[in-house]
């Protein structure tokens, strides 16, 4: 073990939870636009988010063993398992973001730590600190162009890419898990700002929010 402490922050008991956008829905609403909508927003709440730090070679083996997908070694790469529910994204040469279904993050961390033994690495659970916002629809790309300084043209942003960049005046992770879907990973404290920003910018596309 790397002599770090792990801590399962979740509990099975029926304790009410509030996703980062819970406040925003109450405060700003969640517009329903139906079929006329050209942009759809959906929070993928309560997922498990882990930050993995360490050398790519060391981590890759462990991740492959435990998660069954390989660690993306190339900058800006995003890989997913076949179900699309588990993903690993390159954040920096020694940093990756792992997103898994909620509740899987603690067993995953435990397994990774067992597998990694005494190597030098770090795993930090940030599940409570960020949330994923899915953006779909024909106007999704134009909506992103309003907010994101990074080039989201398909020639520069193919499926399987993810970047950390500027969203309006906040920092977000933007990724493209599939042809139709974009995903913003936003920090909890900025989630309301990003949500309000998206509602405002997407109003002209009759934005539809799925709760």
């Amino acid at each position: 073990m790397s002599n770090a402490v792990t801590f399962d922050t979740r509990t099975d008991t029926a304790i009410p939870v509030e996703s980062p956008l819970a406040f925003s829905y109450r405060q700003s609403g969640a517009p329903r636009a139906g079929s006329s909508s050209r942009v759809q927003l959906r929070e993928r709440a309560m997922l498990g988010h882990l930050i993995l730090r360490g050398g790519a070679i060391v981590l890759d083996e462990a991740v492959r063993d435990v998660l069954g997908i390989s660690l993306p070694g190339k900058p800006q790469a995003l890989v997913q398992d076949t179900s699309g529910e588990r993903s690993i994204q390159w954040l920096s040469p020694d940093e990756w973001l792992v997103i898994v279904p909620g509740g899987e993050e603690f067993p995953l961390e435990t397994q990774l730590r067992e597998r990694l033994g005494n190597s030098h690495y770090a795993i930090s659970d940030v599940s409570g600190g960020q949330t994923a916002l899915e953006i779909t629809g024909e106007a999704a790309r134009e909506l992103l162009m309003k907010a994101v300084i990074y080039d989201v043209h398909p020639s520069n942003f193919p499926v399987g890419k993810g970047v950390t960049t500027v969203f309006a005046k906040a920092t977000t992770i933007l990724r493209r898990p599939s042809e139709e879907r974009w995903e913003l990973v936003v920090r909890r404290s900025f989630a309301d700002y990003c949500y309000r920003w998206l509602l405002d910018a997407a109003a002209e596309y009759s934005v539809n929010v799925e709760q």
Partner: protein, 1016 residues
Amino acid sequence: MSQSQQQVFRLKAGGRIDRSRTLSFTFNGQHYQGHPGDTLASALLANGVDIVNRSFKYSRPRGIVAAGAEEPNAIVQLGRAEAAQVPNVRATQQALFDGLAACSTNGWPNVQRDLMGLVGKLGGRFMPPGFYYKTFMAPASMWLTYEKYIRKAAGLGRSPMEADPDSYDHLHQHCDVLVIGAGAAGLSAALAAARGGARVMVADEQEEMGGSLLGSRETLDGTSADQWVARVLEELAGCENVTLLPRTTANGYHDHNFVTLHERRTEHLGETAPVVNGRRPVRSRMHRVRAGQVILATGAHERPLVYAGNDAPGNLLASAVSTYIRRYGVVPGRQLVLSTSNDDGYRAALDWKEAGCEVVAVVDARDAPAGDWVDAARAQGIKIITGSAVIEAKGSNRVTAARVAKIDIEAFKVSSPVQELACDTIASSGGYSPVIHLASHTGARPTWRDDILGFVPGLVKGVHACGGANGTYALGDVLAEGVEAGIKAAAATGHAAPTVNPPSVERLQQGPAVALFQVPHEKPSLRGPKQFVDLQNDVTAAGIELATREGFESIEHIKRYTAMGFGTDQGKLGNINGMAIAARCLNRSIPEVGTTVFRPNYTPVTFGAIVGRHCRDLFDPERYTALHQWHVERGAEFEDVGQWKRPWYYPQKVNGKTETMHEAVARECLAVREKVGILDASTLGKIDIQGPDAREFLARIYTNKWEKLAVGKCRYGLMCKDDGMVTDDGVTSCLAENHFLMTTTTGGAAAILEWLELWHQTEWPELDVYFSSVTDHWATMTITGPESRKLLAEMTDIDLDRDSFKFMEWRAGKVAGVPARVYRISFTGELTFEINVQANYAMHVWQTLFKHGEKYGLTPYGTETMHVLRAEKGFIIVGQETDGSVTPEDLGMQWCVGYDKPFSWIGKRALTRSDTKRENRKQLVGLRPKDPTVVLEEGAQIVFDPKHAIPMPMAGHVTSSYYSPILDSGFALAVVKGGLKKMGETVYLPMADGQVHEAEIVSTIFYDPKGERQNV
């Protein structure tokens, strides 16, 4: 009034307007009509409106001069509704829409009967050249006096007084090739680059793309120029890799090919964006373009000739005359005299004649003009007066005659008797100036070319200029240059050079132009009638001559002295003429006088488009904790801490009256000291530190010792920069041997994480340690006060016994059924537990605390109470007690400095510099006002001797000051020179109102000096 009566200058046919529809508009309250396709300027000319403004300084009547962005006079205030007011709109660039309302920005009470005109007569003496310069040299108060007058007189437009109903936004664009300008050069460049497969953007500022081709006499590939434009646009519009942006001005060209485009999306439709499907579309949009390559195809602006009386309505650019006739079907007069130095000007006379109006004469400065258009004019029977120029326009509200004479350009004098030709319009052409503004934004120096009598742009990497912008004017050459630029730009971005043949055009025979800028008059410039150089700022040739006589030699100085080019048009028409005049007066060449520099924006941009969506409640991110809604519902007042919204205090209603801040804070303070309070401390920065060298890293970055901190323990740490000055503080806990959790100040979280990375990445990469922010992951609820243990005990499985869970320790367990880490640390001096849970559970835990806490008097408190409580204990706040010039020793915190640590930690060496060791540094002390009802002002200066003559030597200042409810007294923290050795001494705080407060220097710890309460 019938339409035909109104639009008396409208041609029966021709132009690109739609005569089948009529649009109504008002100008200065008068009703007029025009057609779709008109600009406000063309519609005004069609209606015979001569005077569109009064001039800035002399209040002279002014008319429309140009047909595009270079227009200096027709600057209007747009908007019928108050909320829709837009100042600074050029009538030549404003599309006409039904219901448009515009008025002049100058002239009071109106442009026709201008009372300011009387003052204007004095204006020359009141604001001579050098007025600004001399005024700024005078005491600053003088400027305020003048400014009021100038604004009243000049009427620079006004802002709306009501909220703008429209929305604006930004679009972040990236492309291989950005083509600016969609005339002959731009379109052929875009076509070439697009066919090569590059991602192409084309921006053009006009209502329609095509530039001068829309009103050209020439044919391309045997078809009319406008048909060729339509064909090219159709092809480009069909390309997936091409974005066409009409009504879009490239306003700024910034570093590394970053260009800002301003797209007017609804300005041609109405004064506010028309509602579509129940909502208003975006009115204007700023495209922030990062381009691989930029092609400047911005064309050229015609230069007017500078002759006496050249500012009266009826004096126009020759090219503008052609544009009004050919594009808008408007002849802006009846009898034309054309004064030209080149062949191009002849087009105006030909167009005028073809429109069925009288060309009185073409006055050509050249002795023997020859060329196709000269021949055409002769063939039309137009009278050509050679070797001559219009030396003066007669008439003030409208041109009535042109005074024409032979001129000797070399000797700069009139060389024949003057003849007077009756006319109502004088068109002039002094040649063309390439539009080099955007290239100039990059800082590149333009180059003067004698052969075209103009500056061509200097070019940084990745930019091409073609066509008029490059001083190339013959259509065939322009098209070829465009294609070449397009191919080159596409190739530079990795797109194979396509084969594109420029369309074939007939090559015109043209004679050489003559260099004529200012036209001589019978009288010397300083005594003759005014010859205007900069119409918008009323700068005359005489003014420039005067400037050179007063010793100004560089054009940059002359511009400042005369204000030439300082208007909203940035001297698009006048700058080169002004430089030529200065050069003549100084007996130098134009480039020797200097080059001229333009800066963003090319034309004025509304604030809305600049701001985009970053306004109102989206102005700046507001960061919320997981408990924000509770605070809102509880009626908290919020304080901005960085971007966070933190509860400041929670005013309650007492007997129907809402507490003041003072009352609320006093209540909250006593609740903590006597019972239990709760604070949302989630905003504190939290950094997860893991790795075998984590402990060593902490020891290097903090001033104090970390080697012995055991698992389960917490320690306060102080951080310095290497200059020895305190930069952050916080508690760090040992979670496991190789695992620590650092907390930082709320405002410092991001900067401290970067700070740790800086040292790790640049100086100590050999240390095995990683840092990750977990600030948002945890919600932190601080319960503090004598009852806090009892409260927590009701809802946790953690053993809270004082001996098994000691002060400065942490434990894991469950709180309200939720996994939690609880830290026994204290920022209030009371028994305190900081409960940390995953943020998604925070609301449940918080509410449960209140369910159980009611019987203990659990009271939520905000940052103000937190400040009072910590100050009573003498705990510092970095950024309040410190300001980047305070060392740990200045704070009296030697207990937190590991002088004997093996590694020379960040800040250590600086503590032994002569200045940091100096006696008499400002040191942190407590201040007890002699009058306990006094709360000293934060920031108040401290002196030792209030009787000292002014200026008194300052001895320090108050850093924190509050009323303490528990002490029932004001108290303060302060930095005082040598303060630590002055305990018990009295200092004085002279206030602005003459009062002098007295205070005693005391310990910084005002309450519970032994620290017993937090240890219970």
